[in-house]
């Protein structure tokens, strides 16, 4: 199959409340990506908009965003896989380019979570699972992930201190990422101080500090076929492998509660396509919507054996100087998690790393990077492997 390259990346600042409309938010990520790619809007032959519709007031937001960004009359597509929408958008863009249907495609991710009131948000929060058979029991995202944490701790002896250590690592890098919503440091002591917000119970065993924050934000990734990639970009980053899987929404359809099958399956596909293994990955972005999610990702991606994810964080191997640096941009835990923009933001971080342009967050000379982006509680799994050769 022909090569597909990433030639431009962009991301708005992730903030609690964006003081503008969704089209203006989209513009912030888009402009940076277009300037980064060194092309003009007319060079883009199609766009893909990625967001989770429950936060959008605008119906069919792809059209309004395409209009505002000057992307008419090119076709535009709207895709949604909850928190992994922009990774799914990237897979669609990859397919459009690899098939020869389009030559340059912009993947625009966005979420203005503050578009709806906190009461509306709290109502939607209850409809994250199967609304017929689960939601009537009073479910919410943290509680589902908490069930995975409970099972992982029971089976493997993972501790609350291990989970806190993941948040501490995230904050280490959130402090040096000027696009992150949470810029403060976090210490392990905050999780044991009953007066500290971080220690507040949410859904046992998860605490406030184990959960990422809502945010408003946008991202943009521009992909191109090999010819265009080499023409526009001095240093295209190539998509070496791209895997995706889905699983039952209702937990009754799951057979594993100490990891996410969709992540294992997507990783297997991506590694096979790229012809590499976990040991070849120099830097990774994983979907740490909750601390336990990062720990399970270590195992599901093959960086650690099942049950041994805790050893990676205890030995600080996932810090910038470690064997496999993970989320050295602060992750979702510090950057914030504007649903539809998250995957694109993760891809941007890895592209900057592979170009050697990640500033204070730069890992030493990485060649191959990986992005793990999950939609829902392991409903949609996406793993993308990128390389600078």
């Amino acid at each position: 199959m022909s090569k597909v390259g990433i030639i431009g990346v962009g991301q708005s600042k992730f903030v609690r409340k964006y003081p503008g409309s969704i089209r203006e938010l989209a513009f912030e990520g888009f402009k940076e990506a277009v300037l980064d790619a060194g092309l003009t809007v007319k060079d883009i032959s199609a766009s893909v908009l990625c967001s989770a519709p429950e936060y959008d007031k605008q119906r069919s937001p792809a059209a309004i965003v395409a209009e505002y960004l000057g992307l008419n009359p090119q076709p535009t597509f709207y895709v949604e896989t909850l928190c992994s929408s922009s990774s799914t958008g990237l897979k669609l863009a990859y397919s459009l380019v690899a098939s020869g249907v389009h030559d340059v495609v912009a993947v625009i991710g966005l979420q203005k979570m503050s578009e709806i009131s906190s009461a509306e948000s709290q109502e939607r929060m209850g409809r994250g699972g199967d609304i017929q058979w689960e939601s009537p029991f009073g479910t919410m995202m943290p509680a589902y992930y908490a069930m995975y944490a409970q099972a992982h701790m029971e089976k493997y002896g993972t501790t609350l201190e291990d989970l806190a250590a993941i948040r501490v690592k995230a904050a280490t890098y959130g402090q040096i990422n000027d696009r992150a919503v949470y810029r403060k440091s976090v210490t392990p002591q905050m999780f044991t101080d009953p007066d500290d917000m971080m220690s507040g119970p949410v859904a046992s065993p998860l605490r406030v500090g184990d959960c990422c924050a809502n945010a408003d934000g946008a991202s943009c990734i521009i992909v191109a076929n090999e010819e265009k990639a080499r023409r526009f970009s001095k240093r295209p980053i190539w998509i070496l492998g791209i895997g995706a899987a889905s699983a039952s929404v209702n937990l009754t359809g799951r057979d594993l509660f100490t990891g996410l099958r969709v992540a294992e399956q997507a990783a297997k596909q991506a590694y096979a396509m790229a012809g590499v293994g976990p040991k070849d990955i120099d830097v990774a972005e994983v979907h740490d919507c909750f601390t336990i999610a990062e720990l399970m990702a270590y195992e599901n991606l093959g960086f650690a054996k099942p049950g041994e994810g805790k050893e990676l964080i205890r030995s600080r191997e996932t810090y910038k100087e470690g064997r496999i640096p993970i989320n050295v941009d602060g992750g979702l835990l510090s950057k914030g998690h504007p649903i539809g923009a998250t995957g694109g933001s993760q891809v941007r971080t890895i592209v900057l790393q592979l170009r050697g342009e990640a500033g204070d967050m730069q890992v030493k000379n990485p060649q191959i990077g990986l992005v793990h982006n999950i939609g829902g509680v392991g409903v949609y799994g996406n793993v993308t492997i990128l390389g600078n050769q």
Binding site: G126, Y144, M147, Q150, A151, N250, T252
Partner: protein, 145 residues
């Protein structure tokens, strides 16, 4: 009511503290629940048992289903006690959601709020029983076997 207007079957609106959908082709589940029975569905063609119950079999594409009662004990797979709740569930706090494994199928629901959290252990045997909520709605809960 005009003769041509049929009464809509909205029995499923009685399911859970807050129900989010009122119509389903497995509405008889509610009648069984009101009579103290928790029912799965079973495909008459291939024999597959489904919980939650379905009107259609995704294995053989048959819609010829029969009811199959959930009996005996299941093993607690995992659980979580919520300290925050979505809108409409505040009065139930704190409560624990959980999953039981019955071997052929699994059941997602809530743990009996009268059970002390300290007694809840992954792997313990539990039973699924019909329950009436304070607001008159119906659900089912897991009790220690």
């Amino acid at each position: 009511m005009r003769k041509s207007e049929k009464q809509e079957d909205v029995r499923f609106g009685k399911f859970g503290t807050v129900s989010f959908t009122k119509t389903t082709r497995v509405n008889d589940f509610i009648d069984y629940l009101e009579n103290g029975k928790i029912m799965a569905s079973q495909c008459k063609t291939c024999g597959q048992i489904f919980f939650p119950p379905r009107a259609d079999c995704c294995q053989c594409l048959s819609s010829d289903m029969q009811w199959h009662e959930v009996t005996g004990t299941g093993k607690l797979v995992s659980f979580s006690e919520l300290k925050f709740a979505p809108i409409g569930f505040d009065n139930d706090l704190p409560y624990s959601i959980a999953l039981l494994d019955y071997g052929d199928f699994r059941v997602f629901g809530r743990i009996d709020s009268r059970l002390d959290t300290a007694e809840v252990k992954i792997g313990m045997a539990m039973v699924t029983v019909a329950n009436t909520l304070a607001n008159g709605q119906r659900n089912y809960i897991f009790k220690k076997a």
